[in-house]
């Protein structure tokens, strides 16, 4: 087991520096010039050149990378070209909203999707299975913006129960925070509930076909015991993997939901940075997201090894 943990940790470590080099090169390879965008529509070439010099964008690429990487080693992600604020401050400002949204979605997906998938797996081919599978397919297929607009229309505009948009920090108001998250979580939750239900159904039904399950049933194990003690325990590994990758993905990829609900999260920050060619934000955020991704995958790998020691051997 110790070897397994060490191997996993050591194999994860080089990923982040490799990602940082690739991201830096990709961001700069397009030949984009943030100074031209920042200087505005009618700026003269001298003004753009002065700005480029001020931002050190006229330095050779290798030198720019060296400066960025050296700062990175000191924990300095640099400052935004457009907002003139340290990247880390911008991330800290926004990570709360994204984290709250991601946790809410994962919670909903696991709490509703896994039982739904397990129930359908236990009653394969039944009317219940067909109905729930159809609903899950619908939730999986509906475009997010359509779900969002429908929920806003019903719960915010018609009934007036919830806000249309915005995010309230829990530090300002716990009730406001919860109210501001309900619709976005429901919007994304519908998709992820369906995803988790489908994966759980497929995994559990596959496990239920195994010989050891048939043996347990023949020995008189109740359906509940078969599900909880055998099937879900084995299904935990793929479901944990799905949870981890979904969570890490949500942290970096909530662009549409954050836009539709005007939530100032990381997704919107990175999409705006890409449109403005705010290099330091793109580089910093991709790096931070990749650290998250690698860390989550590592933790999930280790947890899977714990749940299913065969894989760790």
């Amino acid at each position: 087991m110790m070897n397994f943990v060490l191997t996993r940790v050591l194999s994860a470590l080089p990923i982040v520096p490799i990602v940082s080099v690739i991201v830096f090169l990709l961001v700069h390879a397009g030949g984009s010039d943030p100074s031209r965008i920042l200087a505005g529509d009618t700026a003269r070439e001298e003004a753009i050149a002065a700005l480029r010099h001020h931002l050190a964008l006229d330095q050779p690429l290798f030198r720019q990378f060296a400066v960025w990487f050296e700062r990175l080693l000191h924990g300095d992600f640099g400052s935004s070209i457009f907002y003139q604020r340290p990247i880390i401050d911008l991330v800290l400002d926004r990570v709360g909203a994204t984290l709250a949204l991601a946790v809410g979605v994962i919670f909903l997906a696991v709490a509703v999707g896994v039982p739904l998938g397990a129930v359908t797996a236990m009653s394969l081919g039944s009317r219940l299975d067909k109905s729930l599978t159809a609903i899950a397919s619908l939730g999986f297929s509906l475009p997010i913006f359509l779900v969002a607009y429908a929920l806003v229309y019903i719960f915010a505009l018609r009934l007036g129960w919830l806000p249309v948009q915005g995010y309230i920090s829990p530090a300002d108001s716990i009730a406001g925070f919860l109210r501001s998250l309900i619709l976005p979580v429901m919007t994304l939750g519908l998709f992820y509930i369906s995803l988790f239900a489908r994966v759980t159904r497929a995994t559990v039904s596959e496990i239920l076909r195994q010989d050891y399950i048939k043996t347990a049933a023949a020995k008189g194990a109740t359906p509940g015991r078969i599900l909880f003690a055998h099937a879900l325990r084995v299904a935990a590994a793929p479901l944990l993997t799905l949870t981890g990758t979904t969570f890490a993905g949500l942290l970096g990829g909530l662009v549409v939901t954050e836009s539709l609900y005007n939530i100032p999260g990381l997704g919107r920050l990175v999409s705006e940075a890409i449109l403005k060619r705010d290099f330091p934000i793109i580089q910093g955020l991709v790096l931070i997201t990749s650290v998250f991704y690698v860390s989550f995958n590592l933790v999930i790998d280790l947890l899977c090894g714990f749940f299913d020691p065969r894989g760790a051997r």
Binding site: I37, A39, A47, A50, V152, V164, N262, P264, E272, L275
Partner: protein, 529 residues
């Protein structure tokens, strides 16, 4: 303690408690929430020509002069001024009590540093600078500007309302040089930027400046008092226009500055919402040529495009209601002082055969030409497609290069031929006051390399402009403006493709909304529920 005293004490305590508890409620009533078109690319108004930056800057900074609703220049940060009889020496005195947000008084040295920075950034500013012999402080509150030759637009330039606007900054905030963006947003305006309560990219929060001592005259568009109407103004940028409309309907925001035409009908029928123009003159659609490269380096090819520019196909693309668009074949915004129609019959005469003949005469050889299409600006995306189709109708082989606006701006800066990544035509819009006169018309600037992207070059037009700027009588200026238009429509650096009115939407609880070019938010009062 006697009963009366006890009652008085308890009453006072209850009132005090009520005030403390209710304070946030009152504060909430005084927050004006405005949705602006997009996230400001920067908060430094000298660093961008984006109009959304001006929304922020008008709250924080003040210029020396400002336009009123009649289009007249009025003193703003200047208390009074005199002009010598020979029109060469201007003496200015600053307004009493004008202080920056850091508590320091606005001094002549701040004004001179700010103007020098403006001169180096702005084309109108640089035109004025060419004629300045000296700009000197007489003392902390007064300064003189001495010209080398009479120039009739000194005050117009100092009151300029289209970016770049000559706001006055504390000298220390701009000391790092013209290329260095300002990071301390300290002005003398009616609102103080609160970076702690702001979230760049999402919301900018500005609080009323309690020390603000504005002008005594009532607000008249940008002139007069700038005393704030609300305690707090929040400028929100929302990426989804439907979300903004829903938020206005639900009362979560109070004002949408630039309404998506698709949402006009929805909001017009929503109780409690007013839909109307914030600037009733709004803007003009432009088709801009690259005058440096083939085929549009030849005026005949450019005139051919103008001939098939059917304006009635363009303005419906950027408006929701028929009454919000109109044909305007003057190079000056229709209904402005210099509007005339000299030479404008060439635009949209739809003589396709004559246009094809001109294209042939220009030597166009069928090489694909590149029309830039911004995909993230919905209205302009459609305008580019219509332009491409009209170009095809007279024999041009057109490639539409679709990209986001940021990429478009970068490609547009390239002066190389289209085969090497360059371009031939792009579409955009200009606000009405950017097309008011020969002096401030950005697309009609024919000063070669220093003119706007497209880089047209014409000494005749520039000479007429120069004469216009020296002219002292209104009649003389009108005549020269007509001459200027005739020349511009002959060389055709761009084609005006129709005028339109942009609509805004706001809660009917708002009062005192100034309307006009560059209309600001500071005077808007929000009625309590």
């Amino acid at each position: 303690m006697r009963n009366g005293s006890l009652r008085a004490f308890l009453t006072s305590a209850a009132v005090g408690f009520f005030c403390v508890v209710a304070a946030p409620v009152f504060a909430e009533q005084n927050v004006l929430r405005v949705v602006i078109e997009s996230d400001p690319p920067t908060l430094d108004p000298t660093q961008s020509t984006s109009a959304v930056v001006t929304y922020f800057a008008d709250l924080v900074y003040e210029p020396l002069f400002a336009y009123d609703s009649k289009g007249s220049v009025q003193p703003q940060l200047v208390q009074n001024y005199t002009v010598s009889e020979d029109h060469l020496k201007y003496t200015f005195t600053l307004r009493d009590g004008a202080t920056f947000h850091d508590g320091k008084p606005v001094k002549s040295a701040d004004v001179i540093a700010s103007l020098e920075r403006f001169f180096s950034k702005d084309s109108s500013g640089s035109e004025l600078k060419k004629r300045i012999k000296a700009l000197q402080a007489s003392d902390d509150k007064s300064f003189t500007l001495t010209l080398s030759e009479p120039y009739g637009f000194v005050l117009d330039v100092l009151a300029k309302r289209t970016p770049t606007i000559p706001y006055i900054y504390p000298a220390w905030t701009i000391a790092a040089g013209t290329g260095v963006p300002i990071s301390d947003h300290i002005g003398s305006g009616p609102y103080i930027y609160d970076p702690q309560a702001s979230r760049p990219g999402s919301v900018l929060t500005l609080r009323r400046n309690p020390q603000y001592a504005g002008r005594a005259e009532p607000q008249d568009l940008l002139a007069g008092s700038r005393k704030g109407g609300s305690d707090v103004i929040e400028l929100h940028s929302m990426p989804d226009s439907q979300t903004a409309a829903n938020a206005l309907t639900a009362g979560e925001v109070d004002f949408i500055s630039d309404l998506d035409p698709d949402l006009v009908e929805q909001l017009q029928t929503t109780p409690g919402i007013v839909v109307g123009p914030f600037d009733p003159r709004s803007g003009t659609i432009l088709l801009r040529f690259n005058s440096l490269t083939r085929p549009f380096n030849d005026a005949r090819a450019r005139r051919a495009v103008a001939m098939v520019t059917d304006q009635s196909q363009y303005f419906p693309l950027v408006t929701a209601r028929p009454e919000d668009g109109k044909e305007c074949k003057s190079i000056f915004t229709c209904d402005s002082p210099y509007t005339n129609f000299v030479g404008s019959d060439v635009i949209g005469n739809m003589n396709v055969d004559a246009a094809k003949k001109l294209v042939k005469e220009s030597g166009y050889d069928g090489t694909p030409i590149v029309v830039l299409q911004p995909t993230d600006v919905p209205n302009l995306k459609a305008v580019a497609l219509v332009a491409a189709q009209q170009l095809r109708s007279i024999g041009f082989n057109v490639e539409v290069a679709a990209s986001d606006w940021a990429t478009l701006i970068q490609r547009r800066a390239l002066k190389v031929p289209q085969s090497e990544g360059g371009w031939n035509l792009f579409v955009t819009t200009a606000t009405a006051d950017q097309l008011d006169s020969p002096s401030n018309s950005l697309p009609a600037n024919m000063n070669c390399e220093t003119s706007w992207a497209g880089w047209p070059c014409d000494k005749v037009a520039e000479d007429i402009k120069s004469a216009f700027e020296k002219a002292t009588s209104v009649d003389e200026r009108k005549k020269l403006a007509a001459d200027f238009q005739a020349r511009i429509l002959e060389v055709m650096p761009y084609v005006p493709a129709g005028q339109f009115v942009s609509l805004s939407a706001w809660s009917d609880k708002l009062q005192n909304i100034a309307k006009g070019p560059g209309a600001p938010f500071y005077g808007i009062v929000k009625k309590a529920d």
